[in-house]
Amino acid sequence: MTPRLSRPQVKANASILVVEDDPDMAAEILAGLSSQGYQPRHAASGTDALASIWAEAPDLAIIDRTLPGLDGLSLIAKMQDEGYHLPVLVVSALSSADERIQGLKAGGDDYLGKPFVMGELFARIEALLRRPTDMRETALTVGPLHIDLIERTAHRGSREMDLLPREFKLLEFMMRRPGQVLSRAMLLEEVWNYRFVPESNLVNVHMGRLRHKVDLPGEIKLIHSVKNVGFILDEGH
């Protein structure tokens, strides 16, 4: 059986609209996005952003909450009123749980508190641009990895891996997003459902456990660390 790499399609040169009024911050984000192969555009205000969305139809928008004139959340509301349904990543220095809930309720697809490391921003963008595999599937295959979601069994090739429930959930989450960088914060939020960030390097420890079971000595490494950000499940590294 040839291993099939079920990597969802993602537009390599997706255009991303950055709505940010601080010129330094905007310049850094734009440079970072360019380095990742995206085509970034910039709008310094909500009104500019609407004009740009209308003219250029970007694939995704990164919107700062505090903008001069039309603020970020009102901008999202206006976009929805006018029928633009592109994924929106809200970026804000207002990062308490309540603010976050407000941002997501207003129509943001994800919420990232400032300050953030660029890797985290890229991981979130990637997650928004890709769709995870169909949630109704009962089995997932990535390279030599195969898990059965009904029997709760996991195999690498013909070798069965004995995973604890949390490890299984973690692997399932990663196999739904192969080749995609997953930040520690994303894993904590999605796999463990935790909003708070523990002081200890908990995610690393859990991932270390899973790695020991997935990648035995002598086998090709499938789980890779991404420095300062998190992890990726991929054979190509």
Partner: protein, 459 residues
């Protein structure tokens, strides 16, 4: 200015409104009495006149003439009309020049305004008249004016003015008195509010002691100001803490980056940048923790919390931290009564317990023990995290729940030092009690998960 202010004061307007209502209703009562009395009076006169004329029709003429003369002679105020006309309409006797054109000869009472009276100019006064024909063809007309009814009107009007004037005046005076009092009180409140708005948060509104509604309102506003002062001070202390804890690493970073300007070796430069990034990450983590504590302290979200099973939370946190403990060869266990229900926010309890366990694992050397226990004391459930670590000296126990305290005995453990402060904030929000138990070896931190009324914060 003062005048308009007084006139616009609520008590004055109330008194004015009351006075006007009183005047209106009294006038309506008087009016009703007048209209009814006048109607009855006129009705009585009509009946009288109709009877009179019927009686006079059949009288012998001599007697009738005598009667007309006697009546008119006695009528000093000229209220009556008596007249007898012959078959051709010429006056035989009486005080009417001719039969008024508007008066039908039908034995019924009619109301006329202009009547051709002898001796006088055509009268303008209202008169009710009745005319009827005698068997011999002569016509008799008798009538009476309505001056009495007008007099009644005057009496009623006078009574109305004499009674109402003083009542209205009194109501207005009361209104002005109370309005002036309340304007003075509100002015005093207004001055104080002005000072509070100008920044003097320690000013309090004057309470008169009358115990009225304004007093209870000002008391509530004063309580609100107390709470605002508390919150402002909390924010100020958060600011102080941020400044205190961030200045040091920022100064270090600044010095390091200044050194980087003169550094030639690319490897050394990269090292400096990497170190600075690590420090920056740590300062960000500190800010996040501080803001989270401030968020919990100012939170009111827990109000509508349901029951949370502490046993389930303990198992979940155990599962989360088990690999970490295992890496450090720490024997990590969980035990005790379950289910143990507490009125608490589930996510916050997980956050609190995770912080306690995180600390315990951090401060316990390899080969040690950490245990989560759930117990019931007399009042409710209790969560305890006990470890075999360095322990917390009795002198430092009250300090560890304050922000920024990190025991000197754990130089290897790195953290923002905010974990226990966060747990303390969550405990305070729920009205729970956080206690560091006195044990011989290691540390034991207890969170009593029921409302401790002696220390709970009003919410």
């Amino acid at each position: 200015m003062k005048g308009t202010r007084l006139l616009r004061a609520a008590p004055f307007r109330l008194a004015l409104g009351f006075a006007l209502t009183l005047a209106g209703s009294t006038a309506a009562i008087f009016g009703y009495v007048y209209v009814e009395t006048a109607r009855l009076e006129i009705e009585a006169k009509r009946t009288y006149l109709e009877l009179e004329v019927r009686e006079a029709l059949v009288m012998p003429e001599a007697e009738l003439l005598d009667r007309v003369h006697t009546r008119l002679a006695r009528d000093l105020r000229h209220n009556s009309v008596e007249a007898l006309f012959d078959q051709r309409g010429a006056l035989v006797a009486g005080n009417l020049a001719n039969l008024p054109p508007g008066l039908p000869v039908d034995g019924l009472v009619h109301r006329l305004v202009t009547v051709p009276l002898i001796e006088e100019e055509p009268s303008r006064k209202e008169i009710i008249l009745v005319a009827d024909r005698r068997p011999d063809g002569k016509v008799l007309a008798i009538g009476h004016d309505l001056d009495d009814v007008g007099a009644l009107q005057k009496v009623v009007g006078k009574g109305l003015i004499r009674g109402m004037g003083p009542a209205l005046l009194l109501a207005l005076l009361f209104g002005i008195f109370f309005a002036a009092r309340s304007v003075a009180r509100i002015k005093a409140l207004d001055r104080t509010i002005g000072r509070v708005m100008a920044g003097d948060l320690h000013e309090r509104l004057p309470v008169s002691g009358a115990g009225d509604d304004i007093d209870s309102l000002t008391t509530r506003i004063n309580q609100m100001l107390d709470e605002i002062v508390n919150l402002v001070e909390e924010i100020r202390s958060v600011g102080d803490n941020i400044a205190h804890d961030l200045r040091t690493p920022l100064s270090v970073m600044q010095a390091r980056l200044e050194r980087a300007l003169t550094e030639r070796d690319p490897e050394a430069l990269r090292g400096i940048v990497a170190k600075s990034l690590t420090d920056l990450g740590r300062t960000h983590a500190t800010i996040t923790s501080l803001l989270r504590i401030a968020e919990i302290e100012s939170s009111r979200r827990f109000r509508c919390v349901g029951e949370t099973d502490l046993g389930e939370i303990a198992r979940e946190v155990h599962e989360l931290y088990e690999p970490l403990a295992a890496d450090k060869q720490i024997d990590f266990t969980v035990g005790g009564d379950s289910p143990a229900l507490a009125r608490a926010d589930r996510d916050m309890m997980i956050e609190a317990l995770a912080n306690l366990v995180d600390n315990a694992i951090k401060y316990t050397p390899s080969g040690g023990r950490v245990r989560i226990e759930i117990e019931q004391d007399g009042n409710g459930p209790l969560l305890r995290v006990a470890d075999s670590g360095f322990g917390i000296p009795a002198t430092e126990r009250s300090k560890v729940t304050q922000r920024y305290y990190r025991s000197d005995k754990s130089p290897n453990a790195r953290g923002s030092g905010l974990g226990l402060s966060l747990v303390a904030a969550i405990a305070k929000l729920h009205g729970f009690r956080l206690r560091i138990a006195d044990v011989r070896q290691g540390a034991s931190v207890e969170l009593a998960c029921y409302r401790d009324l002696s220390s709970s914060r009003a919410a």
